[in-house]
Amino acid sequence: MMDELMEILEELRPDVDFASETALITDGILDSFDIVALVGELNDAFDIEIKPNNLVPDNFNSAKAMLALIEQLQDE
């Protein structure tokens, strides 16, 4: 699943090193329009529904955090 996520992220922003970044939102590396695009892609790819309450920096600051969010939403 991490591979699929990394593929989506790579396509969204090929200029960002998602393997090492840990402050994607806090540092403003991903902007609001990246997030809108990303939420749509993740919802489709992983059959989840990301809610506004999930849209906090902690859930999107790193690829690892996003994976944890996806897994949590899939369990619900």
């Binding site: 969204l12 090929p14 939102i25 403003g28 990246d34 997030i35 809610k51 506004p52 309450n53 906090v56």
Partner: protein, 501 residues
């Protein structure tokens, strides 16, 4: 009689001396404090410039940035704001056009400033804020300003690959601000929530409503727009009453479902512009905030931000298309045919604007200025310039102007004006790109680049990220063996559009 925006700033500083004028997530400035900062910066700059010089300002999203702008004006100069987050290539292009002797930067942008192809002097804003104010020098410089003096130069996308600097006068800006604040009823009880980057045209309302009307402006941190619930919490914490946002900014919280969690409680006025509003999102706003005044605005930077407005009185449906409405006070709209004649009522033509709100032209580019700002072909008797917007429009039955898209290949994406040709110019500079065509999938808001050659999409995006503003970087790159062509050899864009995913 008013001779410049300084008349307004002087009056506001006296009347609202201890009231908050600008606030960001860390600091706040009262009208009195702001005014003193502009005087300190102005005194310093007066010693380094001649009246009428351009001053480049590269400073971040904080309350001292507008003080730098007005500080330049206090020195009898005009300002050219630059967004330090833009790629270096772009910043160098802007510097190459404006050729200023002086640049003011905040500490955070000093390193970038020093890396630019710039041979003028760079001053750090934090170092000049303590300059002792010299009222006599400032009075002398203020006296050099007349109402038609340039106030700022703001850069927009240019199809040749070089951004164009649109010059706006004090008169134009004050005319626009007075007209729009009348429609929105902006007054000293209002708190604006600033979304637009401060170097961008849409920020003029957030900067000049305080100066002109005594309103306050809160500069919302950029990353809150990625966290919609935090964004609305901020609107409530700061008791924000009025928003003048891009359509992209307004649709964002609706798209991300923010209203399911929290609602802005103090909001009374919402004005949006920059592109066509998809009404399925406006509907969400209306359903949640039925008492807010919603205003759709239309107009180019060349006519000082906006020309026309439409107050949305009815509840919209998903497929509602909003008119762009009626001209603001002191804006004259004419719709011309290809033959430069006024089109009959109800028929489409090019929207043309005239009045005291017309820009002074494109900085350092007389050729382009003359092409875009022309003698009104309907007026053989005296000098009356019009600006041809390149937008198609018609008058509707109710007297409201309707918008029908562009004549050329300029698009509006995420609230920004983009010449697709500029993206292609950039793509051609990437090794391994042979032919290319950039197109916009409007329903999905996706920017495409179709190209031939061996370059990978990663190569191209990496080059774009270094050389173009982020909003101009296509999200979808499609490598083709050959671009479809028309019998005359030109690229067949209609066929390419069928390749949208």
């Amino acid at each position: 009689m008013e001779t410049s925006v300084l008349c307004r700033l002087n009056a506001a500083a006296e009347k609202y001396h201890d009231k908050i004028m600008f606030k960001d997530h860390e600091n706040a400035l009262t009208f009195g404090q702001f005014n003193e900062l502009t005087k300190a910066i102005g005194t310093f700059l007066a010693g380094k410039t001649n009246a009428g010089d351009p001053v480049v300002v590269m400073s971040g999203r904080h309350i001292k940035t507008p003080a730098c702008f007005l500080g330049a004006v206090r020195a009898g100069c005009f300002y050219a704001p630059m967004d330090g987050d833009m790629p270096v290539t772009r910043l160098n292009q802007i510097i190459g056009v404006i050729k200023a002797k002086i640049m003011v930067v905040d500490k955070a942008h000093l390193e970038i400033a020093q890396s630019l192809n710039y041979d003028g002097e760079i001053f750090v804003m934090e170092d000049i804020l303590d300059t002792p104010v010299d009222e006599a020098v400032l009075a002398e410089r203020e006296k050099t300003l007349v109402i038609t003096s340039p106030l700022y130069v703001i850069f927009t996308s240019g199809s040749t690959g070089v951004p164009k600097g649109v010059i706006t006068s004090h008169l134009s800006l004050m005319t626009y601000i007075d007209s729009v604040s009348k429609v929105l009823d902006i007054n000293d009880a209002d708190v604006m929530g600033n979304q637009s980057p401060l170097d961008y045209i849409a920020a003029v309302r957030d900067i000049y409503f305080p100066i002109s009307k005594g309103a306050s402006t809160y500069i919302i941190p950029k990353n809150e727009f990625a966290v919609p619930t935090a964004l609305f919490e901020t609107l409530n914490r700061e008791k924000i009453t009025a928003l003048c946002w891009s359509v992209a900014g307004v649709t964002l919280p609706a798209k991300l479902g923010a209203f399911d969690v929290i609602k802005p409680e103090y909001l009374k006025k919402l004005c949006f512009s920059g592109s066509v509003m998809p009404c399925k999102y406006l509907k969400i706003w209306q359903e949640n905030l039925p008492d807010v005044l919603y205003v759709n605005q239309y107009g180019p930077t060349e006519a000082t931000a906006s020309c026309t407005y439409y107050v949305v009185t009815d509840k919209v449906e998903d497929d509602t298309v909003l008119p762009i409405g009626k001209p603001y006070d002191n804006y004259k709209i004419t719709i011309l045919s290809e033959e430069n004649e006024e089109v009959p009522y109800g028929e489409q033509g090019e929207i043309c604007v005239s009045g005291p709100i017309l820009a002074l032209g494109y900085y350092g580019n007389a050729e382009y200025t003359e092409k875009s700002f022309l003698q009104n072909p309907l007026n053989p008797n005296y000098r009356e310039l019009i600006y041809k917007t390149g937008d198609l429009g018609s008058w509707g039955e109710d007297g409201n102007l309707l918008f029908h898209g562009r004549k050329d290949r300029q698009i509006k994406h995420l609230g920004h004006r983009i010449e697709l040709g500029e993206i292609e110019e950039a793509a051609h500079k990437v090794e391994g790109v042979k032919d290319c065509c950039s197109l916009y999938n409007k329903p999905k808001e996706h920017l495409y680049l179709f190209y031939t050659g061996d370059a990978t999409s990663k190569d191209i995006v990496l080059y774009f990220r270094k050389n173009l503003p982020a909003f101009m970087v296509p999200r979808k790159l499609v490598n083709l063996d050959k671009l479809p062509t028309l019998p005359n050899g030109k690229i067949d864009m209609q066929t390419l559009k069928t390749y949208f995913k």
